[in-house]
Symmetry: C2
Subunit: 230 residues, 2 copies
């Protein structure tokens, strides 16, 4: 609806890919609804995935023994995180909805997107004990994981060799988003686009556009072990 803010964190190297098309459709459809949409195009930004001392500007809290998490927490409080991290945090802070658009790499997100999680969701900003899970600091936001797979839907069925696709969503949806207090909408999965016809790929794009039309009426999933493993 008008006024809602959306951040799309996008990780694909090729604009002509299905992921690229899914991203563009989300920008178009949500903009049409009156939402304000921002895209972090991680490869185009050459986003840094490595968690290093360079993420802290100026001197360290404990230069004798570098502890990334502790230093980032301190740097957040002093306002001395590196500018690229601060930029992403501003986008997250403003957003009502985070959409992560990526091809599944090894049962997870590509490293460049994992690096976004590692570097941006700093203690103090996204969580701060006891403010985690339902009371995480990013509560009142929504997240949606939208991704393509190499394997077919059949391979990711319960009892199949790759296991229920929900098994691999646990670290991303529960371990990251729910930990930060973010409520999670059902994932949007395009299975094996490389092995289907051009016609079926078009249907995948249409299905995503259709879902986006009523996205704001959806209820979050119940992000508990039952949803993933029952």
């Amino acid at each position: 609806p008008p006024g809602k803010k959306v951040l799309i964190v996008y990780a694909h190297q090729e604009p002509k890919s299905l992921n690229g098309a899914l991203k563009r459709i989300a920008v178009e459809e949500l903009s049409k609804q009156g939402c304000s949409v921002t895209v972090s195009d991680l490869y185009a930004m050459q986003f840094e995935p490595r968690a290093t001392r360079n993420d802290i500007v100026g001197s360290l809290h404990n230069p004798e023994e570098f502890n990334y998490g502790a230093e980032m927490w301190e740097a957040y409080k002093r306002g001395s995180l590196s500018s690229d991290v601060i930029e992403e945090q501003k986008k997250v802070q403003e957003a009502d909805l985070l959409i992560f658009q990526f091809p599944l790499y090894w049962f997870s997100m590509p490293a460049i997107m994992k690096g976004w999680m590692d570097r941006v969701l700093v203690q103090g900003f996204a969580h701060e004990f006891p403010n985690c899970y339902d009371s995480g600091l990013l509560k009142n936001k929504l997240a949606l994981f939208s991704f393509t797979t190499g394997g077919t839907k059949e391979m990711y069925a319960k009892g199949s060799i790759s296991g229920d696709i929900r098994y691999l969503l646990w670290p991303m949806q529960h371990g990251i988003m729910h930990f930060c207090g973010v409520q999670v909408l059902a994932p949007h999965i395009c299975f094996a686009p490389e092995y289907v016809s051009e016609e079926e790929r078009k249907e995948m794009l249409i299905a995503w556009a259709e879902r986006l039309k009523t996205l704001w009426k959806e209820n979050p999933i119940n992000c508990s072990p039952e949803w993933y493993f029952k």
Copy 2:
């Protein structure tokens, strides 16, 4: 035992950390046994985690639409992967055992290590349909995930808020290692070292050294959904 080759893929920024100590202990103990030990110290190497066109030397198979997985497969067959990827593949090829040593970041490995998986375990080298899972191309190798956590053991118990620690091992152990045919030894987990006494941290190091003494007699886990979710 003498003659066995071990590759330790290590991802911590600080040599004085517990992860650094665990890595050194593995090098010492396994060398003492007569093993040949190689370490890929990812942060020290400034290992590139991003999966990009730079990983392919020379021209692309399909420059019109960049498909990372397809291009890497082709480049592997032609011998035109980038030199840093080839170096890591050589180390993997020679190894009998892969040890991954890292601090758990967001229910998974740090992005720099995820990038190692994304870029090194190329189709054609590590798997090639139908050679996946039990017939993956890296069969006859072993892997062990050794990591530290922020959360306590109680938080990662079944029924606790963070869920059974095994839930988050599924993508790493099954989705990556088992997919490539690698057999997985039980993980080695040091829970919440930042919140225990210096004495207890020393005990953690001793326990790891002790385990390594009889590591080669261990049987792999049964890497099926039952192990993770039963």
